[in-house]
Symmetry: C2
Subunit: 652 residues, 2 copies
């Protein structure tokens, strides 16, 4: 009844509902179980059963060991024949009364004990014993390890490598396990195309299916990706019907919202039933919990990040339910939030964070929350959940974070927050290749952002390139200003050439900063607080150029590479940046100056194995080779400490 009411309300208003996740999940499972949802089983070879889940309890067929065997090299005897033997009253056994055995040999019929070879005195027609054997001494008895009919594994238990050994030893060669549930994935959308290296404008690459398949396989399911279906009601309906017939669960990807061409809800409602359309989660709100009889049909939003959250929160528990398993508890850790996170009161929010240990504190830095940004999901080390009804978390507050990678890995993570340069990726690569236990994570927040992060003790290193306009020097005066109590080093990295990036052939014939004022020219800038932004501001001021007349001066990108990308794709005509970024895209480059790009390293971080390993990398020939390949760098003495501000003595 409840179900029908919800459905009626939902269909009548065509609004998305805003059901709390836990409630929706519980009701969904309840409805499915009522409809007959349950794990199907299959009989497979024990040898191939590792990681699978037993469908019912498994009992041994034979004992292990299945015969009495000698545990020593010696002779097998009937213990009774030796009774009474002592130092003073030895017992003599004739050859017919014993059998010579090696370790592992079966004990002959009529014998029930083994006497070690060391305790035997050989005689002409037999042996002489100076001590009695007790029955079953030095015998490995039948069933010592496993008894026939004993339960080896209980129901719904994961089969481990050693369980495979125990099963075979117990004479069990085939086993009933839950069949892997088959999940059908149906990608829909007129603009969706199969993965390709050269998509046309407007094409959206279908990669959700590959992400979801990989997740489903990790959870113990099988995935089938159906051909892409255009946005036509009948075509979608036909494909869903086919998938429901062929699979145990179905994901209908995209079209799950309530827009013009969002047919998912309509289709599911026609073929089966819709329990809920709309969850109180973000990302992931426009999800559809539908089903046909006992088979779940899940409407999944098209944005990859939304889709991932929905199938993690709804599909994963269903696969566990199929296997009669309780999902492994997520590991959590306490962390300090580096920036405030604002959350809508209406939703339970999932915020991806990067994590890193700086000193004793685990620092959580929120990543981009765009639901289309798959790269931020890939970079995430943890997930911060903000329950419905909360407005968010303040910077510096302690939060509980679900870990997406082991704590042991996070403890060896070099945390870089500062100015961007492609060389940082090369450093990360060299560091991890040389020290497989170490990782480096980089957040690009500009030079000033790096300094501020270091003051808040949130990073191990920060790339900075800050020009002191008073004397033309780089970085040192900023250090002195922002670290009045010292305790920080400045390590030489590279000199790098800044200049104007323009399209190949310089079609607009730009000769210098002055030309940026020309009408019809589109500039692309870096974000405020970045060294490059400070540089262009300074250069304009020096030349008396009003920046408000430069078209696009407020258009901000966060990396040199993304500035270069805009010019390469013809959506901007010029941007200030470093040579190596221009070089990546084959752009023309007008050098403006050479600046000093250094690494700021607080004393606390200096002593970590990660920073010390990085110093080795900076000094290495491999790093120099990388720089030469990228181009535009002046290589002096990377890794040299240029400046050290001693920590101020504590006043007494």
């Amino acid at each position: 009844m409840l179900r029908d009411e919800i459905k009626e309300v939902h269909m009548a208003f065509q609004y998305l509902t805003n059901v709390p996740l836990a409630k929706a999940r519980a009701e969904y499972e309840e409805v499915l179980i009522k409809e007959g949802f349950a794990g199907k089983t299959e009989n497979i070879s024990v040898m191939e059963s590792c990681g699978r889940i037993t469908a019912h309890a498994v009992y041994a067929q034979i004992c292990a060991p299945h015969y009495h065997s000698s545990a020593m090299d010696g002779i097998a005897v009937n213990a009774k024949d030796t009774f009474g033997a002592t130092e003073t009253t030895p017992v003599h056994l004739k050859t017919s009364q014993f059998t010579v055995v090696d370790t592992g040999d079966a004990i002959p019929e009529g014998c029930d004990a083994v006497i070690m070879v060391e305790d035997i005195v050989q005689e002409q027609d037999g042996v002489c014993l100076y001590a009695a054997a007790s029955p079953w001494q030095h015998v490995r008895q039948i069933g010592e390890d496993i008894c026939a009919e004993e339960m080896i594994l209980c129901s719904c238990q994961k089969i481990t490598p050693s369980a495979i050994g125990a099963l075979i030893a117990g004479g069990v060669l085939e086993i009933d396990v839950f069949r892997r549930p088959v999940v059908g994935i149906i990608p829909t959308g007129d603009e969706i195309v199969p993965p390709t290296k050269s998509p046309k404008k407007g094409d959206i690459l279908e990669f959700n299916g590959s992400i979801f398949s990989a997740m489903i396989r990790e959870w113990g399911g099988e995935a089938v990706i159906y051909p892409i279906v255009p946005d036509r009601l009948e075509a979608i309906e036909e494909m869903v019907k086919r998938a429901v017939k062929e699979c145990d669960m179905v994901l209908l990807n995209a079209g799950s919202s309530a827009g013009r061409e969002d047919y998912s809800c309509q289709v599911i409602d026609k073929i089966g039933d819709v329990l809920y359309h709309g969850l109180a989660i973000k990302p992931g709100k426009p999800a559809i919990l539908g089903y046909r009889r006992e088979k779940p049909i899940l409407g999944v939003p098209g944005y990859p990040v939304s889709g991932i959250i929905v199938i993690e929160e709804i599909l994963h528990p269903l696969i566990d339910l199929w296997n009669h398993r309780k999902g492994e508890e997520h590991p959590y850790a306490d962390a300090v939030l580096s920036r405030a996170v604002v959350s809508g009161l209406k939703y339970h929010e999932f915020v991806r964070v990067r994590l890193g240990y700086v000193g004793e504190r685990l620092i959580a830095s929120p990543l981009s929350r765009g639901s289309g940004v798959i790269s931020s999901f890939m970079k995430a080390d943890g997930m911060l959940e903000i329950p419905q009804g909360l407005e968010g978390c303040e910077a510096g507050s302690r939060v509980k974070v679900r870990l997406l990678r082991p704590l042991s890995e996070l403890k060896q993570m070099l945390v870089d927050i500062g100015s961007h340069d492609p060389l940082l990726d090369e450093l990360a690569d060299l560091l991890h290749r040389k020290n497989p236990e170490m990782y480096m994570s980089s957040a690009h927040v500009g030079s000033m952002g790096g300094i501020m992060a270091a003051r808040r003790k949130e990073n191990h290193i920060a790339g900075i390139h800050l020009l002191d306009v008073k004397d033309g020097s780089y970085n040192v005066s900023f250090l002195k200003k922002y670290f009045p109590n010292g305790g920080v080093r400045l390590v030489e990295c590279v000199g790098r050439t800044q200049g104007l990036m323009v399209a190949p052939g310089n079609p607009h014939n730009i000769q210098g900063i002055e030309d940026l004022q020309h009408s019809g020219l589109r500039y692309v800038n870096r974000q405020k607080g970045s060294g490059t932004r400070i540089l262009i501001d300074y250069l304009c001021k020096e030349k008396g150029i009003r920046t408000d007349v430069i078209y696009g001066y407020e258009r901000e990108e966060f990396t040199h590479t993304s500035v270069a990308a805009q010019i390469a794709w013809g959506t901007a005509d010029a941007g200030l940046g470093i040579f190596s970024a221009a070089n990546l895209y084959g752009l023309d480059f007008l050098p403006v100056c050479i600046e000093q790009y250094d690494l700021l390293i607080p004393d606390d971080a200096w002593d970590t194995p990660m920073v010390q390993a990085l110093m080795e990398i900076l000094k290495s020939d491999a790093f120099k080779a990388s720089l030469k390949k990228m181009g535009g760098y002046e290589i002096g003495e990377p890794g040299r400490v240029r400046e050290r501000l001693e920590p101020a003595k504590k006043s007494e």
Copy 2:
């Protein structure tokens, strides 16, 4: 040079060396790397790459998104055309100056901003705007997620589902990864036979290969099991040569010691080189670290537990080395040792333990240390390592234990230490099936053992059946005696029939306890402290039978099932035990008495979810059905509290 010296010493004396594990492992890896050991790579489809390891850094081929798209439903314009628009000075755009766009549509050539449909006033020949658009507003720009030429993954990084999405979005469809190393496993031994349900006496089932294969696959390798080779030098040599040619690493299983028919060392030395023969570990000592050129050839002991330790400690790191990975750090936890563990000074010992939370303490109970006992490996929740040079650990001492299952699972583990009954396995099965998050572990130490464990706060429940010979009552008087301060409940389980188990047809025509004295009759007993042992002692005393004339009275088994197994296999003629055990093996049964089998539950344990869940199971019809199927039980009111000893008030 070092290597040759070691070899010479080793070959000259034919002794096993006793090298510390860490030293041997480090030297082995060093030698192999010098010989050219390194991960081979292959190019595979990104869609199939989940869980694989990148062979080198991977860069994006295209930007994601790869075109500017609208982030809203509305119109795309050139922002310049809207400059100056305000509430009082609206701007009019002609139809030619804008394009209607939906979310996700490409931004047309010449446009650089989107105005939301809500902010537009439609006119006859165009639109009217009351606010200027800023360049790039509501536009999802090229490269917002990933820029072409940006590093997506660094070298030697594990590929996750979301990384697959990022790679495809970045136009990367194939990827170089480390090929899974192929490990060849060669089983040897005249007595070894392929797995079968009906082995002949003396046959040893080959299950090591299946255990090792499963482990190797879990670590990211591929396994090939070669046919079983008899104990002949030439045959083994030929097979090793073949495996070295076909595989990246080779395991030669059994024959790794220095006995008469142990050819492994000889063969490896002939085909390649032996670095060490003999490690200072237990189990696992007789291992051989050999190689031919860059390919490791590992001599692995035949006892499964020894073999598992050796390949975990030596082969696993080699697979990680192949992949340029540092193995994940094992999780450890502090535990309290329930029994003393004695260790040899000469070896680093690996002791398998069962773990369970009782109250706040994690209790570690050492399992059987026999290296042939695969079932104890299967049951192990953790591994206690006792470094070389230590004599062991005392009972009650705090130890660091390597976890083999997640702590969250251990927290929901119902710990049973007490008297054995096959019904305990059925309870474990029903409990886990009903509550997938809960597990039950049982250790069979007899009724008195269970009482002692409860006093030491090491278990949640203990099965007990202790006859008070003074009044013929069961259990209650023992509770009062051993828990003078109370704080414990006695929960009714079953009445069960004890009797003499004899071979089918009762060939020795045994009529009662008195007949056990007959010459030629072989008895099999239970261990001291078990309720059944106390019962037989009592019965003999009552009837005036001298137990020292009963043949086999000192032969002790730990479960009813194993007593039954000895009679079924004809290695004993009679044993006292419960009907259900006799029934399992189809034995004849002479009832002696009906005894009360109860569960002792300390107050602290009573309130745990696991014990409460168990009470539900005890009262369930499913449990009663199980009991009826097993037979020999009197079912009263399972789950009823028969007796509660209130905790003593603290004296003031």
